[in-house]
């Protein structure tokens, strides 16, 4: 037999090959500790390993592909979920040739999932859009960038002149960097519309609305790493083993090290459930009854944290009354969960604290999404788990920068940083952007409209992405703006992501102009029978541009450009610059942003964000600080995320998780755990935000005897203003420069200048100096009086499988919001009257697969991933399949109750779904009601794998607070094909 090494001269016969390898490559024998680390010891003794350095090994690393060519290491962030895994790219001669594990990243600690381990393929780009294209007479035609920008510019201007800027729907992306997201929102403002949205509408808009209205900010309260500290973990409506695989590293380690109980609540026995200590199968859409059922036991047994509630929660007594209606028998009747199990999970969560609650789309994508989120938040408040390491509401978001894009205002209801759309918000940004408020106002509405009408449009919520096609197809009287939507500009967004797809298709066909700016043509380009007026602009991927991204835990990570944009693609910055220049407002929009030729510099955009986004503490994260963190990743603790003493990042939390108060010079460390009173505010401590006034019905809304460590005010207090500083006598701590800025901002009434509008950061600085949180110290709200349901109540889905419950738990009445109608009640009533639950007897729900992401165009074009999931399928319960004559692997037709919808796909017969429930993944497109649409893609850009979209079958239903769509509960009928 061949023994490879015995033939070659060996330095020492007794040394094994691996030791030789280390010795020859690194120049010194590897020490045992470095070797252990590479073996995966990090899994066992994590904290100790965090301090080890790998320098002896990493120095000489070279890609295998081109021996002898020097290798450059560049770091960026994986694009496929919100965990924020560092991607370490090896670049040779400007080509990305290899990918190495990122052991120093405190978040992923070297690991990836199937998507992260194959991101290099995105930049090889076999199936990418290579140059701008235009649809002419049904044919795709190659054009140049100049022509594309010029023609798009003319068409946009024509629509604007005839119908006003609101007739163009702007759809942004959770794949944007923070800088591109901010730029896109700014673009919309200068274009003159609030109809600018992105994926958050259809993933966590209800989370943002729900938790922000409960305790102040719409974000994950703790972090993935912090789950290592949890004593009990409850995952509800989420399947992170597939959607956020790297997060499971932290979850499973928490489970193992703390011997934590892990409860998974889901209609499906998911890959996550397979690792649970307790699996709870509930009827889809019955989340509130289950949570109230748990709280029923908690209140009944006095397991709630009474002192915490007294000090920090408003309105819990009213919740108690609602919960009183959910005795075990009723909970079991509505949810299908055995009463004993509800008691058991309530006890686990109450008696193993800190306990954390994790949720995803299973909670948010419902007609009761916001109420669901609020119910879960209230459960954590009752247990005193918010603002506590190991506790928290750990909301896992879906895209690399969906948190950042939400924060920076790709949302029809607000300007960046949740300032809203009121006059004060516009004036703040007019000051920050150094443009005239009247100029911005005049960008809105049609030119000949009176000022008041323009101002009204300027302050009105836009049309969200779930409803844009209603803005195209409805009658003009049902759309509250000067004209219907006639054009659409989509950056980085799938076309199969919203429900009622047959109507989406008609909507796309009716548009006069469709611009798709994306690395791939996406379903938008291929779905419809359009013949003219579609433009495709090739945008590079995240890895071909630089900028920061905000992970789910609010940490910002700076990604370097790995390689230059391939083919003729350009990055978002440049395309937005070119468009704004063509439309005539580039000079105003880029007044304070450095533009290199036609390329705006991302660092400088971030500096403008730092100068303007005070309300959520996006101000301390200068590009320099973020780059320093990426360089010194190894110096951060893998659980607390705290920078090691003696290192250049000492005392900082990794990625300066927002809020990172004040100016960068203030050196605030960022906030790892939100609302944590055990720490000083300058060490990341804080309290619930005083956002909703100081008093309600005679009861104080400010915290009672609870305050963050070292606070000079040892009680609750409102948010800081200049007037408040004066009352406290702290105004003398302001510098002359700060005072001058405050007076300039405030004009005649400087007392009203607050921590959010003071452009100097002085008010924040002085508050922090005295140990106080700039946003105040209030109670969290168990009752949110400004929401449609101030106290969450159960409401049956529109198309429910339990019509017998509709009379008792109906959906909300029809209403009009976001410029369009919401006729959910009418649809529900009709569905019950027509007995649709009999004609469509199977409940259809949807979700994610590990190999694909979102609409799936990008991941289905990646050959390594496509190979692993080659077919669209529907999971059918074993009993149902037997009854319907459906074979495992056989083809079926699935029919939906609206639009005569049908879809053909493979059946996966499994006990994973309960009886009467079917599940479909939502990543597929390219087949339409049985027909192959591969020919609709420009040649060579069709994804490898195509399939029917679940959204062909999904139906009406919108959350009243955010117009989130219902994707998790509808009805269908399955027949063997």
């Amino acid at each position: 037999m061949l023994i490879k090494r015995s033939a070659a001269p060996r330095p020492s016969a007794s040394r094994s090959r691996i030791a030789d390898a280390f010795a020859s490559v690194a120049g010194a024998p590897v020490d045992r500790r470095s070797f252990l680390r590479r073996s995966g010891l990090a899994a066992g003794g994590l904290a100790a390993v965090g301090t080890l350095s790998l320098t002896t090994v990493r120095k000489a690393e070279a890609g295998p592909t081109i021996p002898g060519v020097p290798t450059e290491i560049r770091k960026n962030v994986c694009t496929h979920c919100s965990v924020g895994c560092t991607v370490t790219a090896e670049v040779q001669n400007g080509v990305w040739t290899g990918q190495e594990p990122s052991f120093t990243s405190p978040i992923n600690i070297g690991t990836h999932c199937a998507k992260g381990a194959s991101v290099r393929e995105l930049v090889h780009g076999d199936r990418r859009l290579k140059y701008p294209m235009k649809l002419e007479g049904g044919e795709w035609k190659r054009i140049g960038w100049d022509q594309a920008i010029d023609e798009i510019g003319s068409k946009l201007t024509a629509i604007r002149d005839a119908s006003g800027p609101d007739s163009v729907f702007l759809l942004g992306s959770a794949k944007f960097t923070n800088e591109a997201a901010y730029l896109f929102r700014k673009f919309a403002a200068f274009w003159g519309t609030n109809t600018v949205d992105h994926q958050a509408r259809i993933c966590h808009s209800t989370t943002v609305a729900g938790v922000a209205n409960t305790w102040g900010y719409g974000a994950m309260t703790n972090s993935y790493n912090d789950i290592n500290n949890s004593k009990a973990i409850m995952i509800m409506g989420g399947n992170p083993a597939e959607a956020h695989p790297v997060s499971l590293q932290h979850v499973l380690r928490g489970k193992e090290v703390n011997r934590a109980q892990m409860i998974v609540v889901d209609p499906r026995f998911t890959r996550t459930a397979a690792h649970a200590t307790e699996y709870v199968r509930l009827r889809p859409g019955s989340d509130i009854p289950l949570i109230w059922g748990m709280l029923w036991h908690i209140f009944e047994n006095g397991w709630e944290d009474k002192e915490y509630i007294r000090q920090r929660v408003y309105g819990m007594d009213e919740i108690r009354k609602e919960v009183g209606k959910w005795a075990p028998a009723e909970v079991e009747r509505v949810t299908g969960v055995p009463g004993e199990q509800v008691r058991r999970i309530a006890e686990i969560m109450a008696k193993n604290k800190p306990s954390t609650l994790i949720w995803c789309m299973g909670i948010t994508q419902h007609t009761v999404g916001t109420a669901n989120v609020r119910a879960l938040s209230i459960l954590q408040l009752a247990l005193g788990n918010i603002g506590v390491a190991g506790g928290g509401a750990n909301i896992f978001r879906g895209h690399t920068n969906v948190q950042g894009a939400t924060d920076l205002g790709l949302d029809v209801t607000t300007l960046p940083a949740y300032y809203g759309l009121a006059e004060g918000a516009w004036k703040h940004f007019a000051r920050a952007w150094e443009v005239d408020y009247e100029y911005l106002l005049n960008r809105f509405g049609k030119a000949d409209m009176p000022r008041d009408a323009k101002k009204k449009l300027m302050e009105a919520k836009g049309i969200p992405t779930t409803r844009w096609f209603d803005g195209v197809l409805n009658e003009a009287k049902d759309v509250d703006q000067p004209d219907l939507i006639r054009g659409m500009v989509v950056f980085g967004h799938g076309g199969n992501t919203v429900t009622r797809m047959p109507e989406v298709k008609t909507g796309i066909e009716k548009l006069e102009l469709l611009v798709v700016a994306d690395p791939h043509p996406t379903t938008f380009a291929a779905l419809s029978d359009r013949r003219d007026g579609t433009y495709l602009l090739p945008i590079c991927t995240n890895f071909e541009t630089a900028g920061s991204r905000t992970a789910s835990n609010r940490s910002l990570q700076w990604g370097e450009q790995v390689v230059k944009p391939i083919f003729e693609s350009k990055d978002d910055y440049e395309v937005l610059y070119l468009l704004s220049r063509r439309l005539g407002f580039a000079d105003q929009m880029f007044k304070n942003i450095k533009v290199d030729g036609v390329h705006p510099e991302p660092e400088d955009i971030l500096r403008e964000i730092n100068r303007s986004c005070w309300s959520i503490g996006y101000t301390g994260q200068s590009p320099e600080r973020l780059k320093l963190h990426m360089k010194h990743q190894a110096d951060f603790d893998k659980i607390t995320l705290l920078g090691r003493e003696g290192s250049p990042v000492a005392g900082d939390y990794y990625g300066l998780p927002w809020p990172c108060w004040g100016t960068p010079e203030l050196k605030h460390p960022g906030t790892h755990v939100l609302y944590d009173t055990s720490k000083h505010v300058m060490k990341g401590g804080g309290a619930f935000r005083a956002r909703f006034g100081v008093e309600r019905n005679g009861e104080s809304l400010l915290a009672d005897g609870s305050y963050s460590a070292g606070s000079e005010i040892e009680d609750g207090y409102p948010e800081f203003t200049y007037g408040m500083l004066k009352k406290l006598g702290w105004d003398s701590d302001l510098t002359a420069e700060e005072l001058a800025v405050i007076q300039r901002v405030g004009g005649a009434s400087p007392d009203g200048v607050s921590w959010t509008t003071d452009l100097s950061g002085g008010i924040q600085r002085v508050a922090l100096l005295h140990g106080c949180s700039p946003m105040g110290n209030a109670k969290a709200r168990a009752v949110a009086w400004n929401l449609p349901d101030p106290i969450p109540v159960h409401r049956e889905p529109i198309y429910t499988s339990r019509p017998d419950l509709v009379a008792q738990y109906p959906t909300r009445d029809d209403s009009r919001d976001f410029r369009v109608l919401n006729i959910g009640r009418t649809v529900q009533t009709k569905a019950v009257e027509q007995k649709l639950a009999d004609k469509f007897p199977i409940l259809l729900t949807s979700g994610r697969l590990v190999e694909y992401e979102g609409g799936g165009e990008e991941t289905r074009s990646n050959k390594w991933l496509a190979e692993l999931q080659q077919d669209m399928f529907v999971e059918v319960n074993v009993d149902d399949a037997r009854r319907l004559g459906v074979r495992d692997g056989g083809m079926v037709w699935v029919y939906g109750p609206e639009n005569g919808a049908k879809a053909r796909m493979k059946a996966l017969v499994t006990a994973r779904v309960g009886k009467g429930v079917a599940f479909m993944p939502f990543h597929f497109a390219g087949f339409w009601q049985g027909a192959d649409q591969r020919g609709n893609y420009p040649k060579g850009t069709d994804p490898i794998v195509l399939g029917e979209s679940v959204n062909t079958l999904t139906t009406y239903g919108y959350d009243p607070a955010t117009f989130m769509q219902e994707t998790k509960v509808t009805l269908c009928r399955i027949e063997a094909a």
Partner: protein, 198 residues
């Protein structure tokens, strides 16, 4: 002396397939050939477990025992490699392997098999280390560069361990003691005979 082994902790494996795509990406393994794959048992029911499988680099490897052209060899690190120059694609090793590791590209329309391909523990083949010739036939040689197999290095939950058998056994033991459940390193007794310890 180091003896390289794989260990898959089924209490940790979540079937995320990172090991599969990491391998494909590192070695440019063509569509249809899977040096590593994840197998799920009891799919969709309580007791569901996933295991990442590839060549286990057996002690006294059965593939080598049946190979008519004797193309297999074991390195000093205990890695089982083969020579594609000698391999005739007969497929005997596929029948001998308890783990289904050997893979064959289809050559013609009548199902004739090309030269066998399998996991190399990221350590190439008989050619000189880290050369284009070696890369083309066997993929990257990470061991020669002082690195471990990428599948294990990138495993999302650190379920898959690769490295010196003694070290990964001690990591695994520590893990099992900490959590108090889930012993039994899948496949070890088959692959390594004397490895009952883990």
């Amino acid at each position: 002396m180091a003896r390289m082994k794989f260990l898959c902790d089924s209490e940790r494996c979540i079937e995320c397939n990172a090991c599969v795509t990491a391998c494909k990406n590192e070695h440019e393994v063509p569509w249809g050939i899977n040096r590593r794959r994840v197998v799920t048992i009891n799919d969709g029911t309580p007791g569901e477990r996933s295991i990442s499988m590839a060549c286990m680099h057996c002690t006294d490897a059965p593939c080598a025992a049946v190979c008519p052209v004797d193309c297999f060899y074991t390195t000093a690190d205990g890695v089982v490699l083969h020579s594609k120059d000698l391999c005739i694609g007969c497929g005997y090793c596929f029948y001998a392997c308890p783990f289904g590791a050997p893979q064959y590209p289809q050559l013609g329309n009548f199902g004739s098999r090309g030269k066998m391909d399998k996991c190399t523990f990221c350590s190439g083949g008989p050619e000189d280390d880290v050369t284009p010739a070696e890369y083309e036939k066997y993929g990257a040689n990470r061991l020669a560069e002082g690195k471990l197999p990428l599948c294990a290095e990138m495993c999302s939950t650190k379920a898959l361990l690769a490295g010196d058998g003694d070290i990964i056994a001690s990591i695994y033991k520590e893990r099992v003691v900490t959590r108090g459940y889930g012993t039994g390193a899948w496949g070890w007794s088959v692959a390594y005979k004397d490895a009952s310890a883990a």
